[in-house]
């Protein structure tokens, strides 16, 4: 269930694949200038439209107005990459329709009226697009999308016009970072219509050697062309990352493995872990697991630890345990230690 706990192809480098479609309802003002009453009405309209369509999927969907969640619950959704931080920041106006598997998320009144998202484990861009294409058809049964013959799907920001599609992959690239190749790669991809960001979107740091690659351009090419363009680049970067991992291992031998096991040791026994240190150590351990150096931990468990070690998840853990501890670094060390010991 959900990308965090599922297995997926090429997960040694590709953590997850995600496709997002931006859609708006014809005749309504966009969320940026909407008052609260219209925003709530719009959410009802979308939800009722979706629920009255002829699809088995609707039985698995639930609607959550953002203001009904407390701030920690909202931020957990962001940390799991199920919703954007913008959706959470405007909680009085926004909502979420999500399926039981946490694969399909429909964000309501984010920057656009409707943001459809499908997120899957590992390298599954095509599967994510196929799923989302069907969800899009389903939503369209009862809702009239804003569409223009030449501009395509109309979006609030001109950077999303046309297909309204953003396809992205989350990549773990420790060897390319270590080898100093990453900046050259990031510069090159920007020249071919792609863009790279850190773990939590625009402007965030590349913590834990994790990068999100996505298409920059949305108008002009078809959805399939945009996806295949991204796939070609992901395949090349993945191959290069794997070759570099092997080369660094070969060149450094025991030193390389020592580094990985030390990282595992610290994660297991530390009493305090800052976010930055935690992500750096986990990156080493993930590298070790993906190369078969560490054998008793699964890759998807590593990615689960990565999410559960983020601050909103830690807050929620502390509350559940009735812990009086307020230092997040101490709670993080406790959570991570427990998860790694199994």
């Amino acid at each position: 269930m959900s990308w965090i706990t599922d297995s997926g192809p090429m997960r040694d480098v590709v953590i997850s694949s995600r496709v997002r479609l931006a859609r708006n309802i014809s005749g309504l003002p966009f969320p940026v200038i909407m008052d609260r009453e219209t925003a709530l009405e719009t959410m009802d309209k979308i939800y009722n439209g979706i629920m009255s369509s002829n699809s088995a999927l609707v039985d698995q969907l639930k609607f959550i107005p953002m203001h009904e969640l407390d701030p920690v619950e909202r931020n957990i959704l962001v940390e799991k990459h199920l919703v954007s931080s913008e959706l959470v920041q405007r909680a009085d106006y926004t909502g979420l329709i999500i399926d039981d598997n946490e694969e399909i998320c429909i964000m309501l009144n984010e920057e656009d009226h409707i943001r459809l998202q499908c997120i899957l484990a590992g390298y599954q861009l095509e599967e994510a697009w196929d799923t989302l294409d069907k969800v899009d058809d389903l939503v369209e049964e009862n809702i009239e999308y804003s569409y223009h013959e030449t501009l395509g799907y109309i979006t609030s920001c001109p950077t999303n016009l046309g297909t309204g599609m953003r396809a992205s992959v989350m990549l773990h690239l420790p060897a390319l970072v270590h080898g100093g190749h990453i900046n050259a790669i990031l510069q090159t991809i920007s020249k071919i219509g792609l863009t790279a960001r850190g773990l939590y979107g625009e402007g965030s740091e590349a913590l834990g050697n994790i990068f999100q690659l996505s298409n920059q351009v949305t108008l002009g090419p078809t959805e399939e062309e945009l996806i295949s363009n991204l796939q070609i680049v992901v395949k090349q970067i993945t191959d290069k990352e794997k070759l570099t991992r092997e080369a660094i291992h070969k060149a450094n031998g025991v030193e390389f493995e020592d580094n990985i096991y030390r990282s595992l040791g610290i994660l297991k026994y530390a009493k305090k872990l800052s976010m930055k240190e935690f992500m750096a150590l986990l990156s080493q351990v993930r590298l070790g697991v993906s190369m078969g150096i560490i054998e008793d931990i699964d890759l998807k468990d590593i990615d689960k630890i990565m999410i559960l070690g983020q601050s909103a998840n830690l807050h929620s853990y502390a509350t559940e345990q009735n812990s009086l501890e307020t230092d997040m670094d101490i709670i993080r060390a406790e959570v991570v230690g427990r998860l790694i010991h199994g």
Partner: protein, 175 residues
């Protein structure tokens, strides 16, 4: 010149600070500069910041001209407001701001014509025309690589679709 801090790499970031009239110069390499909290040149910036920058470049007339700010007839959003937010207020903003937006779209997007998915409500004839456009591009490609059998097949397919489109236009069903 070498970086003042690490004294290893060449200094590429040069900063002049004036504090109480006293001038200090700092010369750093990229990496050391990145680690300094008092230098904000590396502050992450978002796609909206970039967009606003492009909008300023593309429309000098509205920046210099002052008074003449266009407004969307439907939602009332002013073009100057859109420049600040990077987002339009409603679907009709695109037609009211079309003259200003066209050069920007060329710059930020790959093309200015959508070729992807079409909502099913757009009707039979619209979809047919799009299909014909697509086949024409394929035909050109086939001719270019001298795949004549494929080209002939595409030509026939285009003819058939055109006939169908004509019938449908005359028959009046569709859009």
């Amino acid at each position: 010149m070498l970086c003042q801090q690490c004294k290893e790499k060449p200094a590429t970031v040069h900063l002049t600070k004036y504090i109480n009239g006293k001038k200090t110069e700092i010369h750093l390499c990229q990496e050391c500069a990145r680690q300094r909290s008092d230098i904000s040149v590396f502050a992450p910036f978002t796609i909206n910041d970039l967009l606003s920058g492009l909008l300023d470049m593309a429309t000098p007339s509205t920046v210099m001209g002052g008074g003449e700010d266009i407004k969307c007839h439907t939602c009332g959003m002013a073009y100057s407001q859109f420049k600040k937010m990077g987002r339009v207020g409603c679907e009709n903003c695109y037609s009211d701001f079309s003259r200003e937006l066209e050069p920007i779209l060329k710059r930020i997007q790959g093309g200015t014509k959508h070729t992807g998915k079409v909502p099913s409500r757009m009707g039979f004839n619209y979809r047919l025309r799009r299909e014909i456009d697509k086949l024409r591009i394929e035909l050109q490609k086939a001719v270019k690589i001298e795949a004549f059998e494929e080209a002939a097949r595409l030509r026939d397919e285009i003819r058939n679709l055109e006939k169908e489109l004509k019938r449908s236009d005359e028959g009046g069903h569709g859009v």
